[in-house]
């Protein structure tokens, strides 16, 4: 039960590389960085601001370790996020053909999350999740009992 495209909405989001694919606010579309803080209604994304010279060359935002970075708070509702999950998670996605399996197992969340997990590169899987699926207290997202939508 590692971090796979299926478990991602219930798993830890802090620390994952993320990109805002869609948002009600056009200025937030395309934001790329790492999730650093999660609250019930927002994700705070640490975005690297490359120095001018690097920006011209199209510096890779996800790669920069030092240098300026700022934290942008993005509301979960009204946004669509694309998480990049690495290592064994991607292999599992390839093996199981995630999209079809998701449709069989959980018909209800299909429209949001089945778009996810097209594999690019060796061991990176991209998972697209509608932000409204993540609306929950961070600590309670994992739970499956009660009236939880994560069942």
């Amino acid at each position: 039960m590692a971090l796979t495209p299926e478990t991602l909405p219930r798993h830890e989001l802090n620390g994952l590389p993320v990109r805002v694919v869609e948002s009600d606010d056009a200025s937030r579309v395309g934001l790329e960085g790492r999730v650093v803080v999660e609250t019930t209604n927002t994700l705070s994304i640490e975005v690297c601001v490359p120095p001018e010279a690097e920006r011209d060359r199209g510096g890779n935002a996800a790669e920069c370790d030092e240098g300026a970075s700022r934290v942008v708070m993005v509301p979960k509702s009204g946004s669509t996020f694309e998480f990049a999950i690495t290592d064994d998670a991607a292999d599992a996605a390839k093996a199981s053909g995630t999209a079809s399996k998701l449709a069989d197992a959980k018909p209800e969340p299909t429209e949001e999350s089945s778009a996810g997990s097209d594999c690019a590169g060796e061991d990176v899987a991209y998972v697209t999740v509608d932000g409204s699926r993540l609306l929950s207290q961070p600590a309670r997202r994992t739970e499956t009992n009660g009236d939880s939508p994560w069942q």
Binding site: M1, R10, H11, E12, N14, A139, T142, E143, T144
Partner: protein, 101 residues
């Protein structure tokens, strides 16, 4: 470990705790103490909600009183006494752990 053999969502919770441990350690190493504290608190909350015991390493490297991630020499004093180690956080809280010779 027994906690890994439990129910599937409990496994997710245990993994979240492990990830948060790493994040807290990294944030503390970067000098970002408040963010480390946030990760520690979240991990504690997840353990509490899912009735999991926190890993021993996590327990020993966090302050029970202020949730700081402890880095011996930086924000924690480590002193050996007769039969036990005393770890003092910068907030003043002390924790004692026994050791065998």
């Amino acid at each position: 470990m027994w906690r890994r053999q439990k129910h599937a969502d409990v496994t997710v919770a245990a993994e979240r705790i492990d990830r948060l441990h790493e994040l807290a350690r990294a944030a503390a190493a970067d000098g970002d103490t408040d963010r480390a504290r946030y990760y520690v608190r979240l991990a504690r909350r997840i353990a509490e909600r899912n009735r999991l015991a926190l890993p021993r390493e996590f327990r020993r490297f966090t302050c029970d009183a202020c949730d700081a991630y402890l880095r011996p020499g930086r924000n924690a004093r480590v002193r050996t006494r007769d039969g036990h180690v005393v770890i003092t956080c910068d907030c003043g809280a002390q924790a004692r752990y026994p050791y065998e010779e």
